[in-house]
């Protein structure tokens, strides 16, 4: 058992996004090499029709009558392609000293007499470190120069509360009071008021990092799973009933009524946008060009659906997922860590291959993060307690592939609590992502952004 399996379900998205003209602004370096969108204008519309032909035709034929659906498709088809950031959260505090184990550090075996790992591929940029065998999917992409590694990312005076630390990461500041996520503030800046798909949680609830102040965002389990029906209501009456959901989403004076109505309106918009992705007979309306691991697991299934949505030109900008696995390994660490890490790494490898096969890999960057690392010294339960500096990755065809920060060593690299000191700051990483990938002024999104150095993230 692991101690606290924190927050398995925090996702929900609401944000919006605004057209491509804004997205390209300020991103000359990226825009220059950016591939053409997977079809623009009519081209993309016909790609949609071809790529999702049957489902679109069937459902379009019977239900395309809604103006909202027409709008949703037009929006999806209309703009230039946007850079997409996919945030993957290793919930619970992943052990950096296992994902990349410092087997070449003389203190490693002393601090981890039971848990120390042996073997594994050598990490090319620092031969003290070795990849965890379960992370081979990421190691393989690293070998292709598609992974930027952050061996000890975090912030000084790390808070060792799961909730406080992940909140800091989610809001992009060491502030307990911010109520919007860093990605949410980005969307508030660049998004539109009528496209909840722009910020999307692929999960059962909202990712706090996507929480916005203005624009709508959405959360869904997968693009093929957003259907509604009721008992003995069919045909035209059913169509009218579902259309009435939107009418229930009107404004109210009471804040709780208004909150429910607001979500109701978002449900209505999202349902209409996703109608073309409904398959028949419970099968998804898309096919994946590559094999994903374990089709019954939600994480690879969600990534497969995400690739299909991106390829079809749905207007997504930031997407958040929680990785499978238990990373809060206070006990029984070896088995608990390997299982989740393996599925996470294998799924991310398949997703990257999927994007490459569809010709859209240049548009997507994946950011893998965790709220902190774990204590260097193991505890007595075959596990580790909460630490400070942790592991992070940026994965994508345009990731620079050069380490950010460094592994500080176990002799001088630990703080007074015996935790690994951070050698790169997550706020600097965010600022660099905003400026170098998303093309917006980090100063308007990250508090005190000027205080943090910007590592070079993309090429």
């Amino acid at each position: 058992m692991s101690g606290c399996n924190h927050c398995a379900g925090l996702t929900r998205s609401r944000l919006l996004h605004r057209a491509a003209a804004e997205a390209g602004r300020g991103l000359p370096a990226i825009e220059h090499g950016m591939p053409l969108p997977a079809g623009t204008g009519l081209t993309r519309r016909s790609f949609l029709a071809q790529g999702l032909g049957a489902a679109l035709a069937v459902y379009g034929g019977s239900k395309l009558g809604f103006a909202a659906l027409e709008d949703g498709i037009a929006l999806a088809a209309g703009g230039p392609a946007q850079p997409v950031l996919v945030s993957v959260f290793l919930e619970g505090g992943a052990d950096a000293l296992s994902v990349l184990s410092p087997q070449g550090d003389p203190l490693y075996r002393k601090l981890r007499p039971k848990l120390a790992l042996s073997g594994g591929a050598v990490f090319a940029e620092d031969d003290r470190l070795r990849w965890h065998p379960a992370a081979n999917g990421i190691a393989q992409l690293y070998g292709e120069k598609k992974v930027t590694v952050m061996p000890a990312v975090g912030y000084t005076n790390a808070d060792q509360s799961h909730f406080t630390s992940r909140h800091y990461w989610e809001v992009g500041a060491t502030s307990a009071n911010l109520r919007t996520g860093w990605l949410g503030r980005y969307l508030d800046r660049v998004g539109s008021m009528d496209n909840p798909l722009q910020g999307l949680s692929l999960d059962s609830t909202l990712a706090p990092a996507l929480a916005t102040a203005k624009v709508p965002v959405a959360s869904i389990d997968g693009p093929d799973e957003y259907d509604f029906w009721s008992n003995r209501v069919w045909g035209e009456v059913e169509t009218r009933m579902l259309a009435a959901i939107g009418a229930l989403g009107t404004t109210h004076g009471d804040p709780a009524l208004a909150a429910v109505a607001n979500v109701t309106a978002q449900v209505d918009r999202l349902r209409n946008q996703l109608l073309p992705f409904h398959g028949q007979d419970d099968k998804p309306a898309y096919t994946s060009p590559v094999q994903y691991p374990s089709a019954n697991e939600s994480f690879p299934r969600r990534l497969a659906g995400l690739a299909a949505m991106l390829a079809a030109g749905l207007p997504l900008r930031v997407v958040a997922l929680t990785a499978p696995g238990e990373y809060d390994t206070h006990s029984d660490q070896p088995g608990e860590l390997s299982e989740g890490l393996q599925l996470t790494a294998d799924s991310l490898l398949a997703f990257q291959r999927d994007l490459e096969a569809r010709g859209i890999a240049d548009r997507v960057l994946i950011h893998v993060w965790s709220e902190f690392g774990r204590r260097a010294g193991e505890n007595g339960s075959n596990g580790t307690d909460h630490g400070a500096g942790g592991i992070g990755f940026l994965i994508g065809a345009r990731a620079k592939g050069t380490m950010i920060g460094e592994f500080p060593g176990l002799k001088t690299g630990l703080d007074d609590d015996g935790n690994v000191k951070a050698t790169s700051d997550f706020r600097g990483v965010y600022a660099a992502l905003l400026e170098q990938w998303l093309g917006t002024d980090a100063g308007a999104v990250i508090p005190d952004a000027a205080a943090f150095g910007r590592p070079a993230l993309v090429r």
């Binding site: 101690g3 399996n5 406080t164 389990d221 229930l248 339960s381």
Partner: protein, 446 residues
């Protein structure tokens, strides 16, 4: 410090209904009117002193008509408790158990035993309105909690900080409110000594306190020095000067969606301390407070929403589907998302709203009218009146009524040309209206 303010306005069926939603799971037929007759103080007294438990109505069954197996069968734990919420004569006791399940959020995903989870649940029922220290002592040595936060891994030669940290951060003081990393480590030492065995085929068994595993050395906790034990650890946390403010703010948040004003906060803290840290007087004061009756509505937690729909219709538990539907709506009992519990300020998003739609659809399933046989008026206003009567006349806003009438009129108009359609569409519109009313903002809040 003045006493806590009390509601002075009227206490009719509307106020009694709100009280039943906040302190329980909504009214059964006639319950709000009966409670209103007791007056505010009498109603609150009835809720806080309910006497022996009496489960009213048909015993729960699974979809095949068999009794539930809450210790063994997946999902039966959730519906077992849901049944208590639907049938209990002590709604506040069950509601407080839900509060404590959220406060000391333990998930079976880390415990792996429905039996241990239900044992913990019983503890919340027994101590739910008593002294907080007794509750915390019971929770600290509760087997499910010992597994969940590694209490039985915590030995003097190998301390594990997990429970020590969460006890202060989430259970008694709040993050960053008057403790240090040193306090976490020293509390963990004080809490050493619990253990259990693992037996093949039985799992975790034989939970006990073993003095051999306890660190008997001196510890420094909150700047006090002593050879503290696990009971001292609990006592020190509860008597910490920052505990009453944490307790009051957190408890209040379960009943009223906006924080108490400063005077109310102070008065409640005073009441809590002067009562020897007892829960019941504070709950009584909150349930009597004007903010509960005059303030904004509260989004019902998913399980309260579900139990309330079932109570309103008098439908017993006859399926275990409520467990996975609860999960879709964002609340599967015994599986809170993490040790901080559910986020009561964010129940609703586009995914969990869909879970509520499914909840309503499944609640309505046995009541669905057959468009081939049933007869309903081909008249939008009469259909709406019928659907409202089905739900016992909930109060809807004008905009919701307009949305429902607009739907009914348009759907009936689609059938205007064909007599066979007119008959069938009227029935389908009645089915659809019941569904739409159930997911309206009015029925999702109280």
């Amino acid at each position: 410090v003045p006493p806590v303010a009390a509601h002075k306005g009227g206490f009719g069926a509307a106020q009694a209904e709100r009280l039943l939603w906040r302190a329980g799971f909504g009214p059964r037929r006639g319950e709000a009117e009966a409670l209103a007759r007791l007056g505010l103080d009498g109603a609150v007294r009835a809720l806080t002193n309910p006497g022996r438990e009496n489960l009213v109505g048909t015993a729960p069954k699974d979809e095949k008509g068999r009794p539930l197996a809450p210790y063994d069968a997946w999902g039966h734990d959730h519906v077992w408790w849901l049944d208590r919420m639907v049938r209990t004569s002590r709604p506040l006791v069950e509601r407080m158990a839900l509060v404590w399940h959220d406060w000391f959020a333990t998930s079976n995903s880390g415990v792996g035993s429905q039996r241990l989870m239900l044992n913990q649940n019983q503890l919340f029922r027994e101590h739910g309105l008593g002294a907080f220290k007794e509750l915390l002592l019971a929770v600290t040595k509760d087997p499910a909690m010992l597994l969940w936060l590694n209490g039985s891994d915590n030995a003097k030669w190998a301390p594990n900080e997990n429970y020590a940290r969460e006890m202060m951060e989430l259970f008694t003081l709040g993050a960053g409110r008057g403790y240090t990393e040193l306090d976490v480590r020293e509390q963990a030492r004080a809490l050493t000594g619990f253990r259990n065995d693992w037996k093949q085929g039985q799992g975790n068994v034989n939970f006990r306190y073993d003095p051999q595993r306890h660190d008997t050395g001196a510890k420094t906790i909150f700047k006090q020095r002593g050879r503290f034990t696990w009971q001292d650890s609990v006592r020190l946390s509860v008597s910490h000067p920052n505990h009453p403010s944490f307790f009051v703010r957190k408890l209040w948040s379960y009943f009223v969606p906006v924080p108490p004003d400063a005077a109310t906060q102070r008065s409640l803290e005073r009441l809590y301390v002067s009562s020897g840290h007892t829960v019941k007087p504070v709950v009584t004061a909150i349930l009597t407070h004007p903010a509960l009756y005059d303030g904004p509505r509260l989004v019902k937690p998913p399980v309260v929403y579900t139990a309330g729909l079932l109570r309103r219709l008098g439908r017993p538990i006859d399926t275990t589907s409520w467990s996975w539907i609860g999960s879709m709506a964002g609340q599967q009992l015994f599986y809170p998302p993490n040790v901080a519990g559910w986020d009561d300020s964010r129940w609703l998003d586009t995914a969990t709203w869909r879970g509520r739609w499914w909840t309503a659809q499944n609640v309505l399933r046995p009541y669905a009218l057959d468009p081939g046989k049933a007869v309903q008026p081909y008249d939008a206003a009469k259909l709406l009146e019928g659907a409202l009567e089905f739900w016992r006349q909930p109060k809807l806003t004008e905009s919701t009524r307009a949305a429902l009438q607009g739907f009914a009129r348009a759907a009936l108009a689609d059938a205007a040309g064909a007599p066979w359609k007119r008959k069938q569409y009227a029935v389908m519109v009645q089915n659809a209206l019941r569904q739409l009313i159930a997911v309206s903002p009015e029925l999702q809040t109280a």
